[in-house]
């Protein structure tokens, strides 16, 4: 079911000059839906610079 909240993957693929089979477009739509639902879990107060660091629990000083 098309939704105004979800991207039109066919148009996006065409704009990128990429041809994708129907099953891939459906998969991308499923991922968009999942991401839409997951946005509620985002912590908007987090420090952006932390995002791309390896988790501190996994980080050790190099000797």
């Amino acid at each position: 079911m098309p939704s105004s909240f979800l991207p039109d993957w066919k148009l996006i693929a065409e704009a990128q000059k990429v041809e994708l089979p129907e099953v891939s477009l459906q998969r991308l739509e499923a991922l968009s839906r999942a991401m839409l639902g997951l946005r509620g879990m985002l912590d908007w107060g987090e420090e952006p610079a932390e995002i791309f660091r390896v988790d501190p629990a996994q980080r050790e000083p190099r000797s």
Binding site: S24, A34, D43, D55
Partner: protein, 464 residues
């Protein structure tokens, strides 16, 4: 012969490295034409390395348990002077002038390389139905997939064409073939084993790791592969502890094992369910405390992992896809094209969410020492089978095969995959033990205790 048995036999002088190597080479010659597990066989070099190993051992120089042991490398690991294809036409003529760190470490440990194993093209898929180098076949049933992408390595180990092998795991590529071929594999903690010289697929998801016949063999290979490498920016500088579980019956008293009540057992084959529960009962019998736990939503975790891989793989392959597009097989090309259209915003949000979900898993792993879950929801599908029926529902084979595994690549947690039983058709069933970061020794200890008790190790009948 297992690695542990071979290492002991070498030291008793009951066998030589040359004899072990010639036996592996003979098996390759006999069986590789039907199994297609090897892309390159380095017979002459292997015999030379084995002679050297024998001479060193005879002179009293002992490099450790891998000394003189014939192994195979997935053809994703760069090997100096030896073609490294990544299972692709893109790199069909690539002959590296250096060894991957893991290759170098294993050579220094005295391992003998018998060849390079076949894989899913560019390690981007789980069937090992390679469009360029042919289909790898499952030794338990030649009409079935061995899994992938490290399919050739699992088949080589299962049939004794190599005593152990290296693999890589970006979305289940060590654990799917281990599960479907009845072998053992370890996806280490991210940063534990160097990726230097391993052809990349997903920058933050790739995990090189060991594949072997038993948990103890896996431990020995892992110890030799692991450790800090300044040439790999994601490598973490911390010591590698001894991982080999002791011989004799191991108690699991004091060990807490979490059995998720949701997602991991929701939609799986009944025989897989029964086999993994049997492992849980066995753990309890060995003294472990088994607790039910609530895991975060696995479908959401899979969506984040899939999105991350699509984008990272497209970035890795961008220059090659532009210049050598026709060298790619259609399924991999389509996945890379999908990655090109993923919005940057989604990728960034996925990384933010990844961190949050890791926090939830780490909280669970404060209450239990390890999670026990199935590896794949079904046994090996038929070659070319696009859909599988699980729990009365039809599902895409590729998605089904990775849905219980892929999330742990995103989280970077260590996962041991080991046999849990056999189906009524005689096909292997696998399970996973998931641990805290850097806790591979405990996973290997739990795995060894279970393996000793359930005694599931056996060779595929045609290749015994």
């Amino acid at each position: 012969m297992t690695l542990v048995e071979a290492a002991a036999a070498l030291r008793r002088r009951a066998v030589s490295s040359v004899e072990l190597t010639l036996e592996c080479l003979a098996r390759i010659e006999r069986w590789n034409p039907e199994l297609n597990a090897f892309l390159t066989v380095t017979a002459d070099a292997a015999v030379g390395q084995a002679r050297k190993a024998d001479a060193e051992l005879a002179s009293g120089m002992d490099r450790g348990p891998l000394h003189g042991i014939p192994i195979a490398h997935k053809d994703l690991y760069c090997t100096k002077g030896i073609r490294t294809t990544g299972g692709s036409k893109t790199f069909a003529e690539y002959v590296p002038d250096f060894d991957a760190t893991v290759v170098e470490r294993l050579a220094n440990a005295g391992a003998v390389m018998v060849g390079k194993t076949n894989l899913h093209e560019h390690a981007y898929g789980i069937t090992s139905e390679n469009p360029h180098y042919g289909i790898v076949r499952n030794p338990w049933d030649l009409d079935r997939s061995p899994g992938g992408s490290s399919g050739g390595s699992a088949v080589a180990v299962a049939t004794g064409m190599a005593i152990a092998a290296t693999g890589t795991d970006t979305g289940g590529s060590i654990r799917v073939p281990s599960s479907w071929c009845g072998t053992t594999g370890l996806k280490p903690t991210f940063g534990r084993v160097s990726k230097y010289g391993v052809l990349p697929l997903g920058y933050t998801l790739d995990h090189p790791g060991p594949m072997a016949q038993t948990v103890r063999d896996t431990a020995l290979l892992f110890e030799a592969m692991a450790g800090y490498d300044p040439r790999d920016p994601s490598s973490v500088d911390r010591p590698v502890p001894r991982c080999l579980p002791e011989e004799g019956e191991l108690s699991l008293r004091g060990v807490k094992i979490g059995l998720p009540r949701n997602f991991y057992f929701d939609r799986i084959d009944k025989q897989v369910d029964a086999a993994v529960y049997f492992m849980a009962y066995t753990a309890e019998d060995l003294g472990a405390e088994v607790q039910r736990v609530q895991a975060p939503d696995g479908e959401q975790l899979n969506a984040l992992a899939h999105l991350t891989l699509l984008a990272e793989a497209a970035a890795v392959h961008e220059p090659y896809l532009r210049k050598r597009r026709k060298t790619y097989g259609s399924d991999v090309r389509t996945l890379l094209d999908m990655g090109r259209v993923i919005p940057a915003v989604d990728y960034i949000q996925a990384q933010r969410l990844r961190k949050r979900i890791l926090g939830v898993y780490l909280d669970i792993l404060k209450r239990v020492d390890a999670l026990l879950v199935p590896a794949t929801p079904m046994t090996a599908p038929r070659i070319g089978q696009k859909q599988v029926e699980i729990g009365g529902e039809m599902e895409d084979t590729r998605i089904a095969a990775t849905r219980l595994l892929r999330g742990f690549n995103l989280l970077g947690l260590p996962v041991l995959s080991l046999p849990a039983g056999f189906s009524s058709e005689g096909l292997p069933i696998g399970c996973q033990l998931v641990g805290r970061p850097w806790d591979e020794p405990l996973l290997l200890r739990i795995g060894a205790a279970l393996e000793d008790r359930v005694q599931l190790r056996r060779a595929p009948p045609r290749y015994a």
